[in-house]
């Protein structure tokens, strides 16, 4: 019987080793897995979605904010009467029945049917108490002013990586506006209810910050209305208006037509999202003349009284014959009248005096040929010829704004030097950032360059006031106000030639001339009633300027 003791002992040892082994397996080998399993039973990870920041106009009104929106889900396993549910939702949400029923497959549990549902619509659906139908609350972008300033603010689109800002301010300040996603872990009791004392925030995310912009809501609204009216009145295919404070570079308004509705951005093409004021390039035509003239004045090569000795007829440069826009010629005309008559031969005289090197140097100082670095997504880098590609005829045509391309924002910024004592300010739309705690960080203004002296700017201003008072657009000027401005009728290059039937007309100017409150550029694409700026863009400019002067409370000076 001696064997029984060792046998039982061995059996116990083996059992003990097995238990130890099993314990080792669960406690050491599978420890992490068990720990995760336990956590999943009593821990609930809550994702904290950041609220996207708002974009406010200069009066503090949120032109872009967030609204509560709902996504409708269906659990196909809980539906009692599939046809009735599908038909009801189809009529309420205006979705074809086929597109709903095709998604309700029995192997799917929680099918998203529609997003962007309003609280009102949600209430209507909830009243019907449809089994298997549920909602998820989300935030969607909301534009209280509808499509006002659509090109400026951009929109929030969605792709495979998620939601993100596209074009305009939404695109440029995407990271600041988006905020940071946070996570919190919540302990639950046996019935899945949260336990108050055990909520821990693991990753403390933050909401997006707000942008305080320089956009004046009233001026923006006004500019858009007047631009629409102008396009309709003159049969143009489109147009744009940009209004800036020349002393700070703040964009007061920027409007473009055709526009889009950022709330329904998917109904528009990519081309319509683009802000033509910063993306389109065009030949500025006569609106470039004051910049070239100011360069020559600043270089001391001419004075306002300098007489043009080649202005008696068409000018021949490198075999090309250059004419005036109306084939009228003024012998020995001075520089004041060259701008007043928008005399191309006079500007050839100025350009040849300036020479290619000085012309390129001054244009660069005015910011021509480079981006303005405005805080909007999508600004085009304008083309600019290299020095060795400049021939005499290029120099001559640049004098009157042809053979050179600019973006409207580039021209507006360059022209602002004439209105701001020769200084160019960096154009900007956002003037301050507001973080989620309400702290405001103001962005200082920045002088980009000083292409001309204050004295030259004053002389050029007087020449431009004379152009408004006595030039082709005098019929539409505002009585009693001194406004400095210039028309521009740009030809459209088509297959190596200029289109004889259509033009891009523009008017650029600032008011009041001696102490400008704003500088404005109005552009009309292919107006049908007239190809001249004095008969199309100029009246739109003065129409807006009239309301702006009243809005700012500026009385007539004369």
């Amino acid at each position: 019987m001696k064997w029984r003791y060792p046998f039982v002992f061995s059996l116990l040892v083996i059992l003990f080793v097995l238990i130890i082994g099993r314990l080792f397996f669960w406690q050491i080998v599978k420890a992490e897995m068990l720990s995760e399993l336990a956590k999943s039973q009593y821990n609930g990870s809550v994702k904290i979605q950041p609220k996207r920041g708002e974009i406010k106009t200069s009066d503090g009104f949120p032109i872009v904010t967030n609204k509560i929106s709902y996504s409708l889900f269906i659990d196909p396993t809980l539906i009692k009467d599939k046809n009735a549910t599908v038909n009801t939702l189809s009529s309420l949400l205006d979705i074809p029945t086929a597109s709903i029923s095709s998604q309700l497959l029995p192997d799917r549990l929680w099918v998203k049917i529609e997003s962007g549902i309003t609280a009102l619509k949600k209430g209507e659906i909830e009243k019907l108490q449809l089994p298997g139908v549920g909602f998820e609350e989300t935030y969607a972008r909301f534009y209280p002013e509808a499509s006002v300033a659509a090109h400026l603010v951009g929109f929030v689109g969605e792709d495979e990586t998620g939601k993100k800002g596209v074009v305009g301010l939404e695109g440029f300040y995407e990271r600041f506006l988006r905020g940071k996603e946070g996570y919190a872990v919540e302990l639950h009791d046996a019935l899945g209810r949260p336990i108050l004392s055990k909520r821990q925030e693991i990753n403390n995310g933050s909401d997006g910050g707000n942008l305080l912009s320089s956009i004046d809501r009233s001026v923006q609204f006004l500019a858009e209305q007047k631009l629409k009216d102008g396009i309709k009145r003159y049969g143009a295919s489109g147009g744009a208006v940009g209004i800036m404070d020349p002393k700070t570079g703040d964009i007061i308004a920027m409007a473009a037509e055709p526009s889009f509705d950022p709330q329904k951005y998917w109904e528009y093409s990519d081309a319509e999202y683009k802000n033509p004021f910063i993306t389109n390039t065009y030949e500025p035509g006569s609106t470039l003349k004051p910049i070239v003239m100011a360069s020559a004045l600043d270089a001391g090569l001419i004075t306002p009284q300098t007489k043009c000795n080649i202005c008696a007829g068409p000018v021949s440069v490198s075999g090309y014959e250059l004419h005036t826009w109306n084939d009228k010629y003024y012998k020995d005309t001075n520089m004041i009248d060259v701008i007043r008559h928008s005399d191309n031969t006079g500007m050839v005289f100025v350009a040849l005096k300036l020479g290619a090197d000085r012309m390129i140097d001054y244009l660069a100082k005015f910011g021509i040929g480079k981006t303005t670095d405005i805080d909007l997504q999508g600004e085009t880098d304008p083309p600019f010829k290299a020095r060795n590609a400049w021939y005499d005829v290029d120099l001559a045509t640049t004098g009157f704004g042809q053979g050179i391309s600019v973006t409207p924002i580039e021209l507006l910024t360059a022209f602002s030097a004439l209105a701001n004592e020769g200084k160019i300010m960096k154009p900007r739309v956002v003037t301050a950032f507001e973080n989620p705690n309400g702290e405001v960080l103001k962005i200082p203004t920045k002088v980009v360059s000083t292409p001309i002296s204050s004295k030259t700017a004053k002389i050029m201003t007087q020449i431009l006031v004379n152009a408004v008072e006595n030039g082709e657009a005098q019929w539409t000027k505002l009585k009693g106000y001194r406004i400095a401005g210039k028309t521009g009728t740009a030809s459209i290059p088509v297959k190596g030639h200029y289109d004889p039937d259509s033009t891009i007309t523009s008017f650029i100017g600032f008011a009041p001339a001696e102490d400008p409150k704003f500088i404005m550029l109005v552009i009309l694409d292919k107006p049908a009633t007239s190809i001249y700026a004095a008969e199309t863009a100029a009246p739109v400019f003065f129409d807006i300027a009239s309301d702006l002067l009243t809005y700012y409370g500026i009385p007539p000076s004369e």
Partner: protein
């Protein structure tokens, strides 16, 4: 030499008392899930209401809406503002 014992007894008593308090508080909190859920639902509904009302307020105060209403009520833009360059006379002969 009695003092160290008193301190030890006091500390032990304190530990026991705090443990009891902790157990009681945790016990109470662990069963407050129903109340917490209700409060969270209520906060959620207030937040929703607030967001919906803010949306309505912004829509109503938007210039787009104001302009439409003004037009519907017959308002037109004043195209001829009166500008006074000199002080108004006390009396004007008709």
């Amino acid at each position: 030499m009695k003092k160290p014992y008193l301190v030890i007894i006091f500390l032990l008593g304190l530990i026991i008392a705090l443990s009891v308090v902790k157990a009681v508080v945790y016990n109470r909190l662990s069963t407050s899930g129903v109340f917490v859920s209700q409060v969270e639902v209520e906060i959620g509904s207030y937040k929703t209401q607030n967001a919906i009302l803010s949306e309505e307020l912004l829509k109503t105060s938007s210039l787009t809406n104001v302009a439409q209403r003004a037009l519907a009520l017959g308002f037109t833009s004043g195209n001829s503002p009166m500008i006074l360059k000199t002080s108004r006379p006390l009396a004007v002969r008709p």
